[in-house]
């Protein structure tokens, strides 16, 4: 009404009316725009921040089915994982304190550097072991060390990948990281492979004999196994190559054999080294040592289905010193399942989390019922109620 009057007032010679803006709430679109506006922003959904959006509403009502769903899925998954883990049979034999035939403690013998370097014949110990159950299926042999920090920062870095790939000629200087195992102090030639990891290579060797109850007490059948295939294929293919020429280089000080003596196609063929060089995450670790050959002709049909239960003798060429750092050494025989080695933790966590979710689901059902009850009652109350929560 007012605007009408104003317009009339202006029509008869008043001041030129100021530009009339459309009402703020009415939107600007109905307005005629004579000249094409130059600075008008783009009217796309992106520019106007109106991209379509999914806006999940996370209330008790929408959350409790989710909790039930997760719970219902996790408990069975956990159960299956747990069963699979339990199906794995393993036997671990700690041979740290074993003694040789003359009763000398190998642990103390190995502490001397010349033992570790095999300058003297290593301490040989025979250990009688007993497998209570059959190990059915493919059996793997591991060695396990404890208190050994293969994850130490300087230790992990102490290697030269180019050397291991065979890309660095023996005459070329290794990485500084390898220090102090870079250069042989006597000859002055470069060490190949350099570094602390290679130098500390695990060098106990094992033989396993099965005493068959049917074949007579004296007959011991050696369990046939191989180190072929114990390392990651990717390591063999891409991290370890063939060194063409070892002349003019030195072996690591702690090694008994030179690399070419250890394997014809070092380092690619030296799978024990490759396994060792893949440093472990934790101070107690296992490393795959041998894969049992179940169909080897030498053992006839003894180990066709795995390792039978019974008595065995483990013959250890004991050289690796662990006494200094109070470590232990073990020999492990185990089968495997689709879920890996024996480790019930994952299955248990799954089941616990599943149960937790079911409990939470139930709790949120209660919360939902309670909340909708409150809402109904507050709707019935006086609308004027002050609700201080909004202040």
């Amino acid at each position: 009404k007012r605007t009408q009057h104003e317009m009339q007032a202006h029509s008869s010679g008043g001041p030129p009316p100021p530009p009339q803006y459309p009402d703020a709430d009415a939107g600007a679109d109905n307005e005629e725009k004579p000249p094409p506006p130059l600075r008008k922003p783009s009217d796309s959904k992106f520019h106007q921040q109106k991209l379509p959006a999914w806006q999940p509403l996370l209330t008790a009502r929408s959350v409790f089915p989710l909790f039930f769903l997760v719970g219902a899925a996790f408990v069975p998954i956990g159960a299956v994982l747990f069963t699979a883990s339990q199906s794995v049979k393993e036997a671990e034999f700690n041979y740290t304190n074993c003694r040789d035939a003359s009763g000398i403690s190998c642990l103390e013998q190995a502490n001397k550097p010349d033992y570790y370097r095999w300058l003297r014949p290593p301490c040989v110990c025979n250990m009688s072991i007993h497998l209570p159950d059959n190990l059915t299926g493919q059996v793997f042999a591991y060695y396990a060390l404890t208190n050994f920090y293969q994850n130490h920062r300087r230790y992990v870095k102490s290697r030269d990948d180019s050397q291991l790939l065979g890309w660095k000629p023996g005459s070329e200087e290794p990485l500084q990281d390898c220090s102090p195992y870079r250069q042989d102090p006597g000859s002055g030639s470069w060490i190949l492979p350099c570094g602390a990891i290679a130098n500390s290579l695990f060098n106990d060797t094992f033989q396993l004999f099965y005493h068959s109850p049917t074949a007579g007490a004296d007959l011991a059948v050696e369990v046939p196994w191989t180190s072929r295939g114990i390392s990651w294929a990717s390591d063999r293919e891409r991290k370890f190559g063939r060194v063409k020429n070892f002349t003019g280089t030195s072996k690591p000080p702690n090694w008994r054999l030179s690399p070419e003596q250890r394997s014809a196609d070092s380092f690619q063929g030296d799978e024990e080294l490759i396994v060792w060089m893949r440093t472990a995450a934790l101070p107690s670790f296992r490393k795959l040592h041998r894969i049992v050959l179940h169909n080897a002709s030498s053992a006839a049909d003894w180990f066709k289905d795995g390792l039978p239960s019974g008595n065995y003798t483990l013959l250890v060429n004991y050289a690796y010193p662990v006494n200094a750092f109070s470590g232990t050494k073990s020999f492990v025989l185990t089968t495997s399942s689709w879920s890996g080695g024996r480790n019930p933790a994952l299955g248990i966590i799954y089941m616990v989390v599943g149960c937790l979710h079911i409990v939470l689901g139930a709790l949120f059902v209660v919360i939902h019922i309670q909340a909708s009850k409150n809402l109904r009652s507050s709707n019935n109350e006086d609308q004027q109620t002050i609700r201080p929560v909004f202040l």
Binding site: G14, A60, G340
Partner: protein, 1061 residues
């Protein structure tokens, strides 16, 4: 300007100007004499309103950047990484990203400063050659910052002409209605009054950023703890196990070793401070600023001006505004006056009609007035309109064909009156200043001879003219404020009717002017005429003497009536102000206008409301301080004049002053200088350091205030671009402020805070796993990779819909305080990160503890564990980002799933680099097969994020069910397609909260002390007793001037307690 009478010239010119200048230290300017004696070099006219110059850019920029704690921190890290053999990371892993971030920020600053650059100042016009021959001197005041006064004398050909503020064009003035002006430069460059009022462009940082800098210290503490703990653990390990771990060499403990390990640990754990945060924030803000500029709701189709974000670093500050300081003219109003009605001889033309709510609409009386004037019967109306047509300083401008172009007036009120009179048939036809006025009334020419003119001054508040009417009678025409007119009347005839009508006008927010007329016998005029001429020619005390003469003339007037003029508000101003008030923002108006005008505008834009107690402070401070403190029952509002405000420059009074101001619902400061505008902002900032202030204005006089406030908004208006050029954001309409604050501000605040929290959380979650690892194994380990999930959250998340933000301004309050981003929230987020990292690490650790995770019996190693932890952490963090989204746009999906996908792709690619490229990647060779080929990865992938986020989901769902915030409730209603207004409280609730909020501020502040001080120092016994009485009722009551009784104060006090729980 007109020179003074020539006869005065010789007499005055005997006094040599240079003698005078020596005595007063004045500025002497010689015209066209570059070789003049005693000539001084004045300043160059070039000014710079930019933040940087070419020379100061790098030092200033680097200072500003390294003032940000994170940047300084990363610089230190980058330096430490240069020490060989100690850093667990590469030498340039920090230096390169830091340099890139610095470079990007520098580019952003340069671009923003470029936009801020001022326009060329000196006109390119060539001056007419005859001006070169002009000789003379101008003697005037030295440069100062007072824009309200200027005095000087111009000596031309031995004639002295006084010059005053009327002859001074300030820098930044826009020329209108003329294509050129011939002038003399008085002040240049930095000496100009405008520049004297301005300050260097301040370096503004948002509150969130300032707080983040503080929280950063918390992170440093965590970092220090991790570093020290790990270092000590390393020392313990090295001393106890190291000597025996023969396979690791160099295990001796020494000071050097300790230092090296300390630095190593420090560098390793520094990754918990997200380096990407700075660059994420910078880019995010650029996008946010871009969206502000793109907003069609803030685009003015008529002026073709879109909103402009001149800085992007304050986007989130827009969501926290507590105070708005607004200019009036050109900001709230269009500065165009429209005649709406009048009261003449007791008859009212037009009426104020209640529109239902508290507001009044005014129905224009122009039509009825016109028709009555056309009849020509009403003598009073004839006089009334004659005065409107004659008594003014308006000049009609005609083109070459003698067609009226327009009326040229210095005041828009006057031109509105003259136009209105013309509309009613009284056309101002011709006017010669100080000589005659010809008025065309219905075709008949009437000539009024002008005998004397007493111009309008703010002190006199009226304008008078002595004219000889066509019939020969001498009359005094007078128009002015009611207060001054009423006291000069012959009789109280019509006063009560007129007052009654005027209060109706005022209710509708109209500006009023009283019109009165007086008759003067010829004899009296002859006597006064001489006095008038003498006064006019007095140079030193011209104004005072003229005022004295006017006093003698303006007597025995007869009241005719009053006019009502609408100072037209900009579109949507009252609604916008109402919504901003609802949003919990306090609005103060700072204007150079006079008090009455300011109060009128206050009413018409609903800032002042009828139920409010409006107190004007014009006298001494102590009086009105007590006055405010004793206001009961009504909400107080304060109107204060610049003169009174100058009292507040004394520190002792200022605290009380600000406390009183803060207790008022609104404050209007009128007749304030640009400097005072910025002073007011500064006082509030000092009194309430946590409050965020916003200043909005359109003129050069608003620049100091715009620069002083946390956020400066400039309107691109008629008054030039100075304000917009100095501002942080520029708009073209006041009403756009609503969307800028309620939508962009609220969103950006939500976005920026969540991104900061999330970024810190993310890095803690990922990198604290390294600490768990170190704790577990006492060895060190490092992972490197960063995702950019926060970006989508910071650019595309929408915390509530535009419609709801705009419809329910109350939602703004949520972002205003620091409820959503404070130390506790920050610490809890960090704790959550630590918790998540622990869950992730423990689960992975337990699952792969034996290392035999493959079905083919092979063992995994150190980097397998690392990759697994990292992969699971990346996925958990990505899902957590999803959980924090309130709106999943396509961008969110892209960022979250794309981010996780990116990592997996990165894993595949990096697993296949070596040995052909990238020696750094030798450790991860074959990890794609190892991870994706082992069931372990997939089992953990399902398990760990679900477990880690269980707490978050459960807590969120609980809060959104049982302890909803207003925003969540509105959001839920919107989702369920219910009307959200049912959860908002109308009527009583709003009032109570408003009061409670005032109380909270009052009680929380120092007002209690202030009232006590007031009691001690107040000169008025009654007032001080009143305060003491209040104190007995408890501190809440004493502070709360809004509380009408002790009982009510008690209620509100209880309310406040509930709130603080």
């Amino acid at each position: 300007y007109t020179p003074l009478q020539n006869q005065l010239g010789p007499q005055l010119s005997q006094e040599h100007p240079s003698q005078q200048s020596a005595a007063y230290k004045e500025r002497v300017i010689h015209l066209n004499r570059a070789d003049a004696e005693g000539r001084v070099q004045f300043r160059s006219n070039s000014i710079s309103t930019t933040k940087y110059t070419v020379v100061t850019f790098w030092p200033k920029f680097l200072f500003e950047q390294f003032r940000k704690a994170p940047n300084a921190f990363f610089f230190l890290i980058a330096l430490l990484q240069q020490i060989p053999g100690i850093s667990p990371t590469g030498r340039f892993t920090t230096a390169v990203p830091l340099s890139i971030i610095m470079l990007l920020t520098a580019i952003k600053e340069v671009v923003e400063d470029w936009v801020r650059q001022s326009l060329p100042a000196t006109s390119e016009h060539k001056q007419p050659s005859q001006l070169h021959s002009l000789q003379g001197q101008l003697v005037c005041e030295p440069p100062d910052d007072d824009t309200t006064k200027f005095k000087g004398s111009l000596y031309l050909d031995q004639v002295r002409y006084p010059v005053s503020l009327n002859q001074l064009l300030m820098r930044g003035t826009c020329l209108r209605k003329t294509s050129y002006v011939i002038g003399l430069v008085v002040y240049t460059g930095a000496d100009t009054k405008v520049m004297k009022n301005s300050k260097p462009v301040p370096l503004k940082r948002s509150r969130v950023e300032r707080e983040s800098n503080r929280y950063f210290l918390l992170l440093l503490l965590i970092l220090a703890f991790f570093t020290l703990f790990t270092t000590v653990a390393n020392m313990v390990w090295t001393s106890r196990i190291g000597p025996f771990a023969w396979y690791i060499t160099n295990n001796e403990i020494s000071v050097g070793h300790f230092g090296a390990v300390l630095i190593t640990c420090f560098i390793m754990f520094h990754t918990i401070v997200p380096i990407s945060l700075q660059v994420t924030l910078e880019f995010m803000r650029i996008f946010q600023a871009y969206f502000i500029q793109c907003d069609l709701d803030m685009y003015d189709p008529i002026a073709d001006i879109a909103a402009e974000a001149r800085t992007s670093s304050l986007n989130e500050e827009l969501g926290q505004v507590n105070f708005i300081f607004s200019d009036k003219t050109g900001t709230l109003t269009q500065n165009s006056m429209v005649f709406q009605g009048a009261t003449v001889a007791g008859r009212m033309y037009g009426d104020a009609v209640s529109n239902g709510a508290e507001a009044y609409e005014f129905v224009s009386g122009v039509n009825s007035m016109r028709s009555e004037a056309a009849q020509g019967q009403n003598k009073d109306l004839d006089d009334f309109l004659s005065i409107l047509t004659v008594c003014h300083t308006v000049i009609p401008e005609r083109d070459s064909h003698d067609n009226l172009l327009e009326y040229s007036a210095s005041s828009p009120d006057e031109s509105a009156l003259v136009y209105a009179a013309k509309d009613m048939g009284y056309e101002l036809f011709e006017r010669s200043l100080d000589t005659f006025v010809i008025v065309k009334v219905n075709g008949e020419m009437r000539r009024f001879e002008v005998l004397a003119t007493f111009e309008f001054t703010s002190d006199r508040k009226r304008m008078s003219m002595v004219v000889r009417c066509p019939n020969g009678a001498i009359r005094v025409f007078c128009k002015g404020a009611d207060s001054v007119i009423f006291s000069r009347l012959q009789s109280p005839h019509l006063v009560s009717e007129t007052t009654n009508h005027m209060s109706k006008f005022a209710m509708a927010g109209l500006r009023t002017l009283c019109i009165a007329v007086g008759d003067m016998p010829q004899s009296e005029w002859s006597r006064l005429h001489t006095e008038y001429e003498n006064a006019r020619n007095d140079i030193e005390r011209r104004e005072a003497k003229l005022a004295l003469v006017a006093e003698k003339l303006e007597k025995n007037l007869r009241l005719l009536g009053a006019t009502a003029i609408e100072d037209r508000l900009q579109v949507g101003v009252p609604a916008t102000i109402n919504d901003l008030l609802l949003a919990g923002i306090r609005i103060w108006v700072l204007t150079g206008d006079k008090l009455e005008t300011a109060v009128n505008i206050g009413y018409s834009c609903r800032l002042l409301q009828p139920e409010m107690e409006v107190r004007s402070a014009v006298a001494e401070l102590s009086h009105w301080l007590c006055g405010i403190a004793s206001v009961k029952g009504k909400e107080p509002a304060l109107v204060i004049e610049g003169e009174s405000l100058s009292w507040a420059s004394h520190q002792s009074v200022r605290n009380e002053f600000i406390d009183v101001c803060l207790q008022c619902r609104t404050v209007i400061c009128c007749r304030v200088s640009p400097k005072q505008k910025s002073d007011v902002v500064r006082y509030v900032r000092e009194a309430m350091p946590s409050a965020v202030t916003l200043a909005i204005g359109d003129g050069a006089n608003d620049v100091p205030m715009i620069q002083e406030s946390h956020v400066g908004v400039g309107l691109k208006g008629k008054e030039g671009l100075q304000a917009a050029a100095a501002s942080d954001y520029s708009l073209s309409q006041f009403r756009f402020l609503k969307k800028l604050l309620l939508v962009h501000g609220a969103w950006n605040y939500h976005r920026v805070t969540i991104v900061i929290l999330f970024s810190f959380y993310k890095n803690i979650t990922i990198y604290v796993t390294a600490f768990w690892f170190a704790l577990w194994t006492q060895a060190l380990y490092n992972v490197f990779f960063t995702g950019a999930t926060p970006f989508a959250l910071g650019v595309w998340d929408r915390s509530c819909s535009v419609e709801n933000c705009m419809r329910y301004p109350q939602l703004y309050r949520e972002s205003q305080g620091s409820d959503r981003y404070n130390f506790k929230v920050f610490a809890l987020w960090m704790l959550n990160g630590v918790y998540h990292s622990a869950i992730i690490f423990l689960c992975v650790l337990l699952a792969v503890s034996t290392g035999a995770v493959f079905s083919d019996g092979k063992t995994a190693g150190l980097y397998y564990l690392g990759s697994l932890v990292y992969a699971i952490a990346v996925i958990t963090v990505g899902l957590k980002a999803g959980l924090e989204h309130t709106a999943w746009t396509g961008m969110s999906h892209l960022a979250i799933w794309g981010g996780i996908g990116n990592y997996l792709v990165f894993l595949v690619i990096s697993s296949n680099f070596f040995p052909h490229a990238g020696g750094n990647f030798s450790e991860v060779v074959g990890y794609d097969r190892a991870l994706f080929g082992s069931g372990m990865f997939w089992y953990l992938l399902m398990l760990v994020p679900a477990l880690a986020l269980t707490r978050d989901v459960a807590w969120k769902a609980y809060k959104k069910t049982c302890r909803k915030t207003l925003r969540e409730e509105v959001f839920e209603m919107e989702k369920l397609r219910k009307d959200p207004s049912t959860v908002l409280f109308q009527g009583t609730y709003r009032k109570v909260t408003e009061k409670a909020r005032l109380l909270r501020n009052a009680v929380g502040g120092r007002s209690a002390d202030a009232s006590a001080n007031l009691g001690d120092s107040g000169p008025a016994v009654e007032a001080s007793r009143g305060v003491n009485l209040d104190e007995e009722a408890g501190p809440a009551a004493s502070a709360a001037s809004a509380a009408s009784s002790a009982a009510e104060a008690g209620t509100v006090g209880r309310l406040r307690l509930t709130v603080s729980h």
